[in-house]
Subunit: 565 residues, 2 copies
């Protein structure tokens, strides 16, 4: 049986009360327009007519160093290469399994709750995932696939297509799907098919959604990270937004008004520019993983970048709709993205209201990055830049703002991007006990040399380069480096630093050091640690800050290198 995408969606719509609720809630908002287009698929166009064949604005970097220039050749075939890599992930999971009972799809459909057991289908396999549901890293979202096939969702969240997930899934195998009910998905267009072309230097941590960082050596080459080399952290497909019809909606909870602004109207507000570093809360996660496995993308030390961001001050915009720094009832500003999944869930996050209205908060609704319109991967046409705060709150493709008494209810605000004690794991985590990460702690990294490099010793010295940053508007006041396990520390030179003073110092510091090494050694381990203007410093090692989500990985950065002559 070949089943069309339309049928899958129809089935889904009657399948889940959860989904209905989400749709109802969503349709009240401005984004229901986009949502309508999303589902109004004709001729198998997954995105709808309005979004079809729009040209993606392509921004080719800003001022870059000669080294960066070397990498700047855009590989036109990159998307094709990625597609091939994705294919490699496929395995025999879900294949017919001899000796197990057969179930019809209508039988599977009945198992959608914990009480009735939660069943799902993958290809020919039927699985009872009741026990696993509570441990699902994506939280309750797993319930949206309950009683049906997980395949449409896995097309969206490519992270599921890996051996570990297949292994977990197969451990819950209870049967085979009857031949006549098997779905051969031939006509779902890949929701990521329209993602922009990316720079070849961006090394993907995940393909769908796209998440990538450059190499450390490349990252530390320029104080302002070229747009093309800026780390990309997408949670969903990149939406194509028509700037001509785009409107930002602002809702103020309670009796107060709801207002919309076109891009042109937003650009009439005074244009503000800030220089700010953005960093994913999962930056440097791979190092924490070495202590004990964590759930999350394998970020190296380059899920961080610095740019100038220009746009309208959120403070100005909120004042326009009557929310000032004297507001006492409402406490949070929620941001909703225009990036949706197949269940109409859009990306969302919130920040405390004080940060948005404070004259020193410097929150910008940016339409420019490093002097040019935002690239599609970075939120075109409009994103929030909340300087000093975790990347996850800097919502891209901003569609709606809600000034509220409550935090955003989104998965990413409530059940992700939070820190926990090392003794907590997925089995005993209670997300309500930890605050959402906002201001980020102090961090640093050695960018050159990289782990395993052979480093030339010149007159007994080696050269290092790196970055350091702290959230909350704090400035880096010192970076210390050592090659003898902390017996002696050398002070690094702070080469590049923004002139802004704390508590409004939003950008990273690039540093370098020339440090002595014992000429008798063949190998050394280099450590670095930074101190910020609150004299906060980094924890020494990952053992005591380990957390099951692998966020806030800010222990000393340690790089082992070989010494050459």
């Amino acid at each position: 049986m070949i089943i069309s995408l339309t049928l899958i969606f129809k089935k889904m719509l009657i399948m889940q009360s959860t989904l209905k609720l989400i749709l109802n809630r969503s349709c009240k908002a401005q984004h229901c327009r986009a949502l309508g287009q999303y589902y109004n698929h004709k001729n198998n166009d997954y995105r709808g007519q309005n979004f079809k064949n729009k040209k993606t604005p392509l921004v080719i970097g800003t001022a870059i160093t000669s080294l960066v220039g070397y990498y700047l050749f855009i590989n036109k075939n990159q998307r094709h290469v990625y597609a091939k890599e994705a294919k490699k992930e496929e395995t025999n999971a879900g294949a017919y399994c001899k000796g197990l009972p057969s179930y019809s799809m209508s039988e599977v459909n009945k198992h959608t709750t914990k009480e009735d057991k939660i069943w799902v289908v993958y290809r020919e396999g039927v699985y009872d995932i009741t026990e696993f549901a509570e441990q699902h890293p994506g939280g309750d979202q797993i319930l949206i696939a309950a009683g049906g096939s997980v395949e449409p969702f896995w097309l969206l969240y490519g992270i599921h297509k890996n051996e570990n997930v297949f292994k977990i899934l197969e451990s819950f195998r209870i049967g085979n799907l009857k031949k006549e009910d098997q779905v051969q998905i031939t006509d779902i267009e890949d929701p990521y098919a329209k993602d922009p072309i990316r720079h070849v230097a961006l090394r993907p941590a995940n393909m769908k959604p796209f998440n990538a960082e450059v190499s450390p050596a490349l990252l530390c080459e320029s104080f302002l990270t070229p747009n093309d080399l800026f780390y990309v952290r997408n949670h969903l497909p990149v939406p194509e937004v028509d700037p001509a019809t785009f409107e930002l909606e602002i809702e103020v909870e309670g009796t107060r008004k709801t207002v919309s602004f076109t891009l042109e109207e937003l650009k009439k507000f005074p244009k503000a520019t800030i220089t700010a570093t953005l960093m994913c809360a999962g930056n440097r996660r791979t190092e924490m993983t070495k202590v004990k496995a964590v759930k999350g993308l394998s970020w190296g030390p380059c899920a961080i970048g610095t740019a100038t961001w220009s746009g309208v001050r959120l403070r100005d915009l909120l004042q326009k709709v009557g929310v000032t720094d004297d507001e006492e009832t409402l406490k949070h500003v929620q941001f909703e993205g225009l990036d949706f999944d197949v269940t109409a869930n859009q990306y969302g996050a919130s920040i405390p209201l004080w940060k948005a209205v404070d004259k020193r908060g410097d929150v910008i609704l940016a339409y420019e990055m490093n002097g040019v319109p935002l690239p599609p991967d970075h939120g075109y046409p409009l994103r929030v830049v909340v300087p000093g705060v975790a990347g996850a709150r800097n919502v891209k493709w901003l569609g709606k703002i809600v000034v509220s008494q409550q935090e955003s209810s989104s998965h990413w605000q409530q059940n992700d991007y939070k820190g926990f004690c090392p003794s907590i794991d997925w089995n005993n985590a209670d997300f309500s006990t930890a605050p959402a990460i906002q201001e980020m702690p102090v961090i640093s990294a050695i960018c050159r040399p990289a782990e395993g490099d052979v480093v030339k010793v010149e007159n007994g010295f080696i050269n290092l380069k790196g970055y350091a940053w702290s959230g909350g508007g704090q400035k880096i006041i010192r970076v210390d480096v050592t090659t003898d396990g902390g017996k002696t520390w050398q002070i690094a030179k702070l080469d590049d630093q923004d002139a802004a003073l704390p508590p409004r110092h939003w950008a990273w510091t690039l540093w370098s050091a020339r440090i002595p090494v014992d000429p008798k050694l063949k190998e050394v381990e280099i450590w670095c640690k930074a101190v910020d203007s609150c004299y906060n410093t980094q924890p020494e090692s990952f053992e005591n800050i380990w957390n099951f989500r692998g966020v806030l990985s800010n222990a000393y950065h340690r790089v082992k290198v070989k010494l050459g002559q």
Copy 2:
């Protein structure tokens, strides 16, 4: 020869151009009144008539627990006990030394600069301290005694009266003072003679000036620290200030006005109250000393306390004199205390202007502590409370405010209370390279049990109590404790916490924990670490944060205890 105090001061006045400069500068300011009284000594009254026989306002605590009550018996003889202890510090330093040449005081008088060599006298000893001058922990202040006797200064700075200092001094011995020039100081009244009577539970880290803290067990008994048990960190003798004649002077640099306010006038501004923790930047220094010796008072973990502070908002007062949150030229607010040394140097410090004018800065000129007038040791009649910022900036006995382009030039702002890399010591320190400590990093401590205690194990568990705090308005979100070196961490219960939200959460958190211990063990080491709302956490150990001044001692707190049944 018996020399009177008047003569000593007369000699000093012609001796040092440095001193003249200080006096000239000082006399321009409001405090020249106090200064005049200070030097206008008749009948050997060191402080002057106006300050004589004023009754010291004595404040007997606020609400306290039954345990605290036990300690609350005021030992009327305490001052006497202290005097005895001070006597013990005296040794044979400065005694006649056979075989060394003899010098007259007029010869000594010629040696006041590095070029001419710097000589000083202590009792019968003559010393060439040229080499030592640059390493003097008190910086340039040593030059004020150059070419004369150090004794009047050592009466003021009691810290010099210890074996180490005597040993250092004797290592620079060059001769004996001629018999006829020897000074027998009989008529200098102890500048600390009028210091208030203190609570017997305050354990002195230093007597003159008075610096003291209570025991950890007592400290964690109440969220608001009783005034009598609040740590005292004085840099100079406690001045007696007459509230009837007291005036606070505010100078705004440039062409703008200078205004004075009486206490009554200050009390007419809206009264603001904040709950804030104050902590000395040297709190927990004794632990850092174990890595390598540092210079500074031996503070345990109790140079910290929490109180409600009521007074006038500095923001309101500055607005009154024309300095608002829109000020762009002036950058700092300097505070001058009414506590002076014999050279007319008063205590001083400054904070960045933004903190003073920001609506979320909450800087208070407090005239009340825990609902009663400030006690003498805590700044009566007026002190600055800069919440979230190191104790040293919370200037007591506030006499003058200067809104300036510059930081305070005081010793304590420029050459003290700064953090350095572990590789820096007195020999290579350049104080201009480090920023003055303002906002404090996250810290915590175990208050019960204390090091060496025998702890009762109840059903395999032991009970802990402690505090945690972070500067900059950040809130403690978690405290983790371990008894197995970090293999497993337990989450402490946050018992007492102020309701204020970051970035205006100024008070500490009191916590407790009931944690399992291995019943086979006879001894365990307990560690604690805190995480604040920026997810900053403490460094693990002191080795890598060691600094020669022993400030910012916020590594994990580790307490070794014996287990009993």
